[in-house]
Subunit: 355 residues, 2 copies
């Protein structure tokens, strides 16, 4: 394949977004796009480029006192009748326009066009963010080459619709089980119906008051939801077990352990098994490059509600935030699109900050 | 195979039960037992014998003014480390001892040993009662040879622990669905959680007061139970649909249509879809052979709570009741067994009635 990432394309974040969208890169199929990105970066004299799997890293080494990371994932969710891209007025439609080829375009554009940024910069393009963690390029490089990610601050170019979303909430799942006594449903009073028993679990969920927590001026809004329920033995049997999977999204002032304890307390009296858990990340807006980034944006940050790879940077001691032109509500949506003006505005902001 | 149903065995309902239990006849595998039964019956001069599939019918034609049916199914549920039979004191253990080879033994014993019963008798041994209706021998013969089942009264020899269980309750299932609005669970307030919405369905089930209805002196105790619940999209999605399958067991003073309307009323405001339904059967204790049967038993009948093939007889205009030595609570149980005294007592009752 001839590399479509030509100098003209690389010079314009909008054109670059479109070309990146049109290189198919559904998770686990990132080789073609990683090849194109790697080839471009290796041709840039002020960068040192490395590759691990289908993850590509390029960095300046100008001896600046601070180093920042600009990071974006190369993969997309599966197409949904939204490939290749198309334009409708000032909107670019297609899988990955919002999540997050427009963000990737920022990093690639700056990598090529900014030979002397005010901080040393690590540009990080990684594979498999949309699927299980064990494939995630950021996770893999954090294990194999953690030195590639050493920095004072990171911007993850995930869709935020042009605002700064700082830190991220933690997430955990637990299975809450009710038990009963099995019986033939023709003589149901001999049994104890575990599905009926789940009524109390749902009552507590319906009455639950989720917290809103403000940290460094960012509000984190929690949520506790049943995401799955399952029970039943047969059409003529009073069931003796019902399982309700709950997902708790918690503000970063709570540790994972505190979140687990809270869920156990909410469902006291029931069997509660934690099945999945990931810590949140505090906003971390104190680092000098972070403060200067916020000044360049010129608007107050808000709390990131979803769990993102910001938490992986936080776990490595690198304060991170999310900033991208896409609308997060359109991510994974058949109508996914991005506004051209948002791309241009964000590119200008990053340039203002780094140039 | 040499036929184990020898004259000595046929003369004793207890020995006969044991031999019938030890002929393996899990549903859809009734050929061997039907062959044995058919061979015996064809050798009895006072009977006319017919076969349809693995269902065998034999009848007297003595010109009596009344005809009764004695009916039992030849199949069992799958074995559960309880085959072949074994004796422990006065208890016979094994798959089918209670449900219902001991009942089948009554009919076969009387068919062979009672040349001049006081009514004409139709002995009916049928296949595949324990599985889907479309395989059921009584259902199949009711369609193909309804004249085989013409009678004034029927005794179904299902396990009742030696009491008369009259008529049967109806049963219906319905899917009650709650709907909501899907959203990412990190921003759950953008959605409406359908599982949480199911809390109201479970609240109504928990508060439901089931009726107790007395008909002809028989009490029918109703029940309304969730037998299955299912909801959920993914671990990070507020679900937009939850389905609760409910099973309503209703007294035979309600028609199927009335039962459906009742369930719709209980779950007013929710989507309710009836998925399965079978009418009950009124006790039907007015027919002369029924009254004489009750006199021979000498104890008051009770209402049958489970749905049984009694309802198939009722639908053909034949009043029917359940009477057998097995304990219905042991049916389909690994510890299934029958009391020897119960077999002898019931056999004596039937003999008193028919001789």
């Amino acid at each position: 394949m001839r590399n479509p990432l030509t100098p003209d394309v690389l010079a314009d974040p909008v054109a670059l977004t479109r070309v990146l969208v049109d290189i198919e890169s559904v998770s686990l199929n990132e080789k073609a796009i990683a090849d194109c990105v790697e080839e471009v970066l290796r041709g840039v004299p002020h960068l040192t480029t490395q590759r691990y799997g289908n993850t590509v890293m390029a960095r300046t080494d100008l001896g600046r006192s601070q180093r920042v990371v600009l990071a974006g994932h190369l993969d997309t969710v599966p197409h949904n009748n939204n490939f290749p891209s198309s334009m409708r007025g000032d909107l670019m439609y297609g899988c990955g326009t919002s999540d997050m080829k427009s963000g990737v375009a920022y990093a690639l554009h700056l990598a090529v066009t900014l030979p002397e940024p005010r901080y040393d910069v690590t540009y990080f393009f990684y594979e498999a963010e949309e699927i299980e963690s064990r494939y995630n390029g950021l996770f893999l490089v954090a294990g194999a080459h953690p030195e590639w990610l050493t920095a004072d601050f990171a911007v993850l170019l995930e869709p935020t619709y042009g605002v700064v979303e700082a830190g991220c909430q933690g997430t955990m799942r637990a299975m809450v089980a009710t038990t009963g006594v099995r019986a033939h449903s023709a003589r149901s009073w001999h049994g104890v119906n575990a599905i009926h028993g789940a009524g109390e679990v749902l009552r507590r969920l319906n009455e639950y008051q989720a917290r809103r927590v403000v940290i460094d001026g960012c509000e984190y809004r929690e949520g506790l939801n049943a995401v799955r329920i399952h029970g039943g033995v047969a059409g003529n049997v009073v069931p003796d077990r019902c399982e309700i999977e709950v997902n708790y999204r918690f503000a970063p002032d709570r540790t994972e352990e505190e979140a687990h304890a809270h869920v156990r307390e909410v469902f006291a009296g029931f069997e509660v098994t934690v099945t999945d858990s990931a810590a949140g990340a505090a906003p971390g807006l104190d680092a000098p490059p972070a403060r200067e980034f916020l000044a360049a944006v010129g608007a107050a940050p808000i709390g990131k509600l979803g769990w993102t790879d910001v938490a992986r940077f936080a776990a490595m001691g690198v304060p991170a935030l999310n900033f991208g032109p896409g609308d997060p509500n359109l991510a994974h949506h058949p109508d996914e699109h991005v506004e051209i003006n948002k791309i241009r505005d964000g590119a200008a902001t990053l340039h203002r900050w780094l140039a």
